[in-house]
């Protein structure tokens, strides 16, 4: 097993007074796919939102315990107030269950995180967008219509576009919340293949409802089924 990328220690999570997660202790290995499984409502998506602090956008949410991630060889506390949440989210990409392209062109969708980060040099943007789209195997399908609306793409293409958008910042960690569940089997298989290819440059954490998918690509499994604190 590869060295740990993220260490979670005695983690509790609450919405107002309702406890969602209690006393989680896990280690997530680097350059591997960690899959989170369990029944609906067990807190899988919430768990995923801890790593880019997206839970902070939900009013009444509160976290206790420690999550440490290793960026450039030293571990740091993700919830440290001194750590900029903006910087964190640029280093931790996320892909959602439903493809969520923004209502803009294909090119601008992928270039969007660069724009947010203030990277405007034309050639750099061009290169990084092209590289990200190629990495997701989408280039042959979109290279002639980069200025067309992203919503004109099929569901599977949109999801790969969202992967490209998440990858354009070259994140060290990629979060995926049931990335294939809204797709047809063929598109799903492409996303799975892509995830495996990404392992050398990324640590992937994926929520999945499909046991066969977990079987195929996961290197480690965290089971959120009540009563089974198991780790494979």
């Amino acid at each position: 097993m590869t060295p740990p990328k993220i260490k979670i220690e005695s983690l509790d999570f609450y919405y107002n007074t309702h406890q969602i997660l209690s006393n989680i202790n896990e280690t997530i290995p680097e350059n591997a796919i960690t899959s989170i499984i369990g029944p609906s409502g067990a807190g899988k998506s919430t768990f995923l939102s801890l790593f880019n602090r997206l839970w902070e956008t939900t009013p009444g949410a509160r976290v206790e315990g420690r999550i440490q991630a290793r960026f450039s060889d030293s571990f740091m506390d993700i919830n440290d107030p001194k750590l900029s949440v903006i910087q964190l989210r640029r280093a931790v990409g996320m892909v959602f269950q439903m493809p969520n392209p923004l209502p803009m062109s294909i090119f601008n969708n992928v270039a969007f995180p660069l724009k947010l980060a203030g990277i405007t040099e034309k050639e750099t943007v061009q290169n990084r967008v092209t590289t990200a789209i190629k990495a997701c195997g989408l280039w042959p399908e979109v290279k002639d219509r980069l200025d067309k609306k992203a919503t004109t793409l099929s569901g599977g293409q949109q999801q790969r576009l969202c992967m490209a958008r998440a990858l354009v910042m070259e994140p060290e960690i990629l979060l995926l919340d049931e990335p294939t569940s809204s797709l047809d089997p063929r598109s799903g298989a492409m996303i799975e293949e892509l995830m495996v290819q990404l392992k050398p440059r990324c640590t992937l954490i994926m929520v999945s409802h499909q046991p066969d998918q977990v079987e195929r690509i996961a290197d480690q499994v965290i089971d959120f089924t009540p009563g089974s604190e198991s780790c494979r």
Binding site: L54, Q87, P113, L116, A117
Partner: protein, 293 residues
Amino acid sequence: MNRWGEKAIYSLSVLSCVLLFGSVAILLGYLLVKGLPALNPGLIFGSTPMVDALFLKRQVFDGIFPAMAGTLALIALAITIAVPLGLLAGIYMAEYSGRFTRSVFGFFFDLLSGIPSIVVGLFGFSAILFFHHHISESLAPCLLVSALSLAFLVLPYIVKTTQIALETVPQQTRITGLALGATRLQNIVFCLIPESLSTILGGIILAVGRCAEDTAVIMLTGAVVSAGLPDSLFKGYEALPFYIYYISSQYADQTELTQGFGACIVLLLICATLFTLAAIIQKKVRHTLLYRH
């Protein structure tokens, strides 16, 4: 609910729509029948040649050209004042305010939107009188006072629609930008506002319409019967609704009344043009925000 109940509600709702549609059709038809005979260059430019009037070579004394220009200037001024203020206040209300400030401010904005325009007009009038007595004799009811009062009148519409438009952006869209590393402001500017632009525009259109039609505010704050083309913020001006009001309340013969109806049609046409313009601007802004490389 039983079958008859369903049928009754259905029939009544259809009937209501037909009734509304019918009233609007009758209103427009009546206006057209009454006003069309007056709708000619003479109504607008009087006895002044059109080209001379348009190129400002000669004043128009007996047409509604100065009133049209006055109304347009008034709308442009009031909207220019109200839109930035309203947008910013709406953004604050939706994105930054806490629960307490939101409810307090929201209550006051609702109160403001319920104030009759005659009261706003009276307030503008009293304010300028106060300034006239205490600051400078030269300050009097004028275009600027009218525009400020109108801006005050329409601000709540813009604040409210902006706030609602931003608040109703789906959570999924709201977190998309944030998850990609957007700051709060970047998320508002690049994701939330483009998403809610058409709703916000609805509020602005409502405001434009209100500025174009309101008579109570302007007759107290600066509109006069005869002023020529508006050439200063600090002078009285002519305006279409005021023209329609005085000509239809004091007409000497049938021709003057017909001119009033003609002016109504012109006012409606001005509004229609402005709404179309607003829709085009909305498309352009959206395009610039989203598609420019």
